[in-house]
């Protein structure tokens, strides 16, 4: 039996790490800064142990560990509750979130440390930026500017307290989200996840690009959250039906049974609203634009965002509320189409980018598309299985990109090459991640991607259509995974940051020099662990046959789903397609049998379209924001504000001022005037009552 207190502790521990780092370690300044990392790592290690215990308890209980929700407050007959909902789905998410987060924190101990010698690394490099820091001070933002944290800029652990505090908050929010028993509670944590990702993406907030990316992530996901909020309001407006049936309108377990009470029309609208929230959070088309820009945060943050927290929240919400979605074919079809289209659309953009983190970012968008697709064709368990596998290999790939950056100080693959000589551990682990991402047997990515394709194939017309999208995306995914491997690790070294002209460097990194070396043990160890998971998670967690320790299809059975069956033709087709993608990448970037430049020239219009990301950013920022909003809506609002609102306010103010002035003019008469006011008030009320009675 897993006590409810232990479940709350899972949220409380990382939150305590946040509080300790923010309110104790950070004010202590330089001498204590180093402790911050250990505080968060310790908290998360205990969290992971608790998560494993929770998983075992759920396994033993054969289902949900039911805790009664607690009354938070009551408004009339409506009870607002909070509580813990621990079922197999939550247990799996707890493992993913706490294990990934723990590994990322350990890695960060190395990555976020500043190396004093020739510029060092992480947390980049503020020494050069002292000038800008003073500029900040002059504007009164000194408290948080680079010099902040009460630690000198040269201090190797200067970034620790703020970084590990935010990381604690981020992890706590995500853990709280998956444990929520109530949709409002879930929404609060959902917003906290958004807030902490905003803080982390904008961690280097003195860089304009980082500040802009953080803002973009916050605003774009907020558009989706508006849909979420509308869904909540819509549910609340139907509370009478639910409460009549003895259900709490926001309790997740109760909502699972609510579909028949609400009717298909209502359910569809609720599902679409929730899906809008997931589209924003999980970066699905058309709200995908924030994720590639979110690379501006420190690399371990990207790895956490892409693997376990933030983007996983959208898919989790779909799986969590699936009993509701199930009742609406319209919503499911829309989800499947959105997911399938996003998978294809995002991979195509990944083909041409030069920034290694952006390649990975587009791959995340497309892999999330696969998960949505799986939800849409009625297989949320397979979606969760893919989320589970993806978490490990995607986290690994990001940590690998950070490791590469640690060595060459750039993310531009055109400036890399041949790094496998100097970075053997990084090379092997990233290669494993890439094979897994490409979906090659028997690595993790293969199993779940294959099951998604099978589920799609066995669906209706929409399923067949998105199956084709999925196959197309699989080809391109394999292609760019190996394009990344070849450009980064094979061939000749192309100079790293040394090859970047001074003028084009980010000011923070201007003073860096290439120092080709393997990353320290504290960074490579988490990568090796993750590489092991990327190899094994698919086959072990949901093997098609009994492994002895783990029964066959453990994952699916655990989530109370029928075991998916293995479909040989589809497995062979998808593997061939992936091998085809790898083959093409080899021809273009390894053997140079096909010239990549020649190809780009031949397909120039297409290449341009992809490099400009289908002009989606231009569409949003240029057309919608500048033209429509600024010129149209905002100007209209401005006019109304200036002429109507201000007018009213001015009138009220004028009345107030002049009434006051009129009174002030008769200083000695004032008290008598007030007395007269009392008398007049009595008379007026009396008259009104009397006339009311008479009439």
């Amino acid at each position: 039996m897993f006590s409810e207190w232990a479940a709350w502790a899972i949220i409380a521990l990382p939150l305590a790490a946040f509080a300790i780092n923010a309110f104790i370690v950070r004010p202590l300044g330089a001498p204590a800064a180093r402790l911050a990392g250990y505080v968060t790592v310790t908290a998360l290690a205990v969290t992971l142990v608790l998560s494993v215990l929770a998983l075992m308890a759920v396994q033993d209980a054969h289902g949900t560990a039911g805790y009664e929700p607690h009354l938070w407050f009551a408004v009339g007959p409506f009870d607002m509750t909070i509580g813990i909902f621990l079922d197999p789905l939550t247990a799996i998410m707890l493992i993913v979130v706490s294990s990934i987060s723990l590994l990322v924190q350990v890695y960060s101990l190395g990555y976020m440390r500043r190396e004093p010698a020739h510029g060092g690394h992480a947390a980049e490099e503020r020494a050069v930026h002292a000038g800008a820091a003073h500029a900040h001070d002059a504007h009164g933002h000194g408290g948080d500017a680079p010099v902040g944290d009460g630690v000198s800029r040269e201090h190797p652990y200067a970034d620790y307290p703020r970084y590990f505090a935010y990381m604690g908050l981020f992890t706590a929010s995500m853990l709280g989200l998956v444990l929520s028993s109530n949709l409002i509670q879930l929404f609060i944590f959902w917003e906290l996840v958004g807030l902490s990702s905003y803080l982390l993406i904008g961690f280097y907030h003195w860089r304009p690009s980082a500040a802009a990316a953080a803002k973009k992530a916050f605003i774009v996901t907020r558009i989706g959250d508006f849909g979420f909020l509308l869904a909540l309001l819509y549910i609340f407006s139907h509370r009478a039906e639910l409460m009549a049936a003895g259900l709490n309108p926001f309790d997740i377990r109760d909502l699972h049974q609510a579909a028949p009470l609400l009717g298909p029309g209502v359910v569809t609208w609720i599902a679409l609203g929730l899906f809008a929230g997931a589209v924003g959070k999980s970066a699905q088309f058309p709200l995908h634009t924030w994720l590639p820009d979110a690379m501006e945060g420190p690399t371990p943050v990207s790895s956490l965002i892409h693997a376990a927290t933030m983007v996983a929240a959208g898919v989790f919400l779909m799986a969590r509320m699936f009993p509701l979605f199930e009742e609406s074919a319209t919503a499911l079809n829309l989800i499947a189409l959105t997911g399938g289209f996003t998978a294809l659309f995002a991979t195509s953009m990944g083909l041409v980018v030069h920034d290694i983190k952006r390649v990975l970012a587009f791959s995340t968008v497309s892999q999330l598309g696969y998960m949505m697709l799986a939800v849409g064709v009625g297989a949320p368990v397979i979606a969760m299985f893919h989320l589970f596998n993806h978490a490990f290999f995607k986290c690994l790939l990001f940590l690998g990109s950070g490791s590469v950056h640690h060595s060459v100080h750039t993310f531009d693959m055109r400036k890399m090459g041949g790094l496998k000589r100097w970075m053997p551990v990084t090379y092997v682990t990233v290669l494993i991640g890439a094979i897994s991402l490409a979906g090659i047997f028997p690595l993790a990515g293969f199993w779940s991607k294959d099951e998604i394709l099978v589920a799609a194939w066995e669906g209706d017309t929409v399923g067949r259509l998105v199956f084709l999208f999925g196959i197309g995306a699989a080809f391109m995914t394999a292609f760019y995974s190996f394009r990344m491997i070849y450009l980064t690790f094979h061939g000749e070294f192309r100079g790293g940051i040394d090859a970047v002209p001074m003028a084009e460097r980010i000011p923070d990194e201007a003073h860096h020099a290439v120092h080709r070396h393997e990353s320290p043990r504290v960074m490579t160890t988490p990568m090796v662990v993750l590489a092991g998971a990327a190899v094994l998670s698919g086959i072990v967690a949901n093997a098609p046959f009994d492994l002895g320790i783990v029964p066959a299809h453990w994952f699916a059975h655990f989530l109370e789903e029928e075991a998916p069956h293995f479909n040989w033709p589809i497995a062979i087709v998808s593997t061939l397609v992936a091998l085809g993608g790898i083959g093409l990448a080899t021809l273009m970037y390894r053997t140079n049998a096909i010239s990549a430049e020649g190809m780009a020239l031949t397909l120039k219009p297409f290449h341009v379209l992809l490099s400009r990301r289908y002009y989606m950013d231009e569409l949003y920022e240029g057309l919608i924001v500048r033209r429509v909003l600024y010129r149209g809506v905002f100007q209209a609002a401005d006019w109304i504000d200036r002429h109507i609102v201000d007018g009213t306010v001015d009138l009220a103010g004028w009345l107030g001022r002049n009434t006051g002035r009129a009174m002030a003019q008769v200083q000695t008469g004032q008290v008598q005037l007030y007395g007269v006011g009392i008398a007049l008030g009595v008379v007026v009320i009396l008259l009104v009552l009397l006339t009311q009675g008479g009439g």
Partner: protein, 508 residues
Amino acid sequence: MGLTSTDIYLISPELALAGLALAVVLLDLALKNKTVVLGVAVVGLLVPIAFAVSLWVRVDGLVFARETGFNGSLVIDQFAIFFKLLLLGILVLVLLASNEYTGRFRRYQAEFTGLVFFSATGLMLLPAAGDLITVYVALELASLPIVALAAFLKMQARSTEAGLKYLVLSGVSSAVLLYGFALLYAATGTMRIVSPSAAEPSIAQMLTVTHAGLPFGNVAVLAGVVLVLAGFGFKLSMVPFQMWTPDVYEGAPTPVSAFLAVASKSAAFAVVLRVFYSALGDVSADWSLVFAALAAVTMSVGNLVAIAQSNVKRLLGYSTIAHAGYMLVGVAAIAARAGDAGDGSLGIVSVLFYLGGYAAMNLAAFFAVIAITNRTGNETVRGLAGLGQRSPLLAGMLAFALVSLTGIPPTVGFMGKLFVFNAAINTGYTWLAVIGVINSVVSAYYYLNIVRVMYLQPADGDARPVSANAPATVALAFTSIAVLLFGLWPTGLLDAARAAATALLQTL
């Protein structure tokens, strides 16, 4: 029926407080170290608090959950004790926060404390009043010390002016109130709010209809109720009886303004609930709409005029008028219960909860203003510019209090409005809730404007840090935490409010 020991026990919190007031004044003569005097005052307040808690426990076990004392003049139930504890809590906090301020008239510091205690004694008796005479006596006991307190800065013209205004207008309102009581007595032949025995019926039992079709069915009762309403309206700062409020708040020493805004208003709401619910509950359908209309006018006037204010204390004065309006919404919602299916206590509970939350957030705002203006000497909104940098802690807590006053979650201000408007909707006053919500939006304009000035405008000239002394910081931190805590976990305060409301409903 003479005085019994039970009677003494029933007013033990008030007796202890009055005794403490005398002790503080006497001790001040004997002791040089004034900090000790403050310490005695604060620690001494634990005595009346302990008595009040023991009374709560005592009445909790009784059949009617109440005791009557002094031949029925006093009713000690959980409703009365709820307010005793609320007022004593306010007293502790005001005392802590005003210590630095009252340092400017160090010689009279103990007299200041003593007067505040005497006034609070009166306020604590008000919610326990069992008949109209007790109401009047308690009201006068509460009001007269305030006159002296408002005029305490006797070298400042506007302070003495404030004292004089309060004296004259409170006199007028008392006269109006007494006239109303007299008319009610004429119509019913009794002064009893709660009947102590079958031989002495209460007003509620003696109300007779003489003119069908007329509100209250009786001309004397109609006139009496309106006059009583006007008399209490003065204490509540209810429009159109609010005009003294901004002048007195601006002129009086700021701790006195805080005391008036929170303590005096809470007790006034308590007595309004007691008189209108217990004595006039049967004719609630007739006065409910009056309260609803006055609530709408009160909050609208308070908020609109507050927009134009440049003096922070004056602005807070108008803001308390607006909040009185919100609470009157809950009072009106009580009345509409007759014939409605809704929960009869919803409105009372919402008012009591709002009062608790209002005490926390309004005191937080006043305390921050006391600390800031005491150091800067500038009471204008403009004078708060740059405070975000000059004093992050004070500015942060003031901003938080203002956010709560606006009614934005996760603060108690939001919860309070939620409950009050919910009560209104459940008793058929949807239109009133709509006006309330519109008013909240309007109020955001001037509350958040202060936040904007503090954080976005650079300080004029003097940019030295501003800080509060230790007792004031404790009081401020306490109120800020309460604002957040009651906003996140309203259940505790809500349960106390429910217990008090249940007690009031039983005194029919």
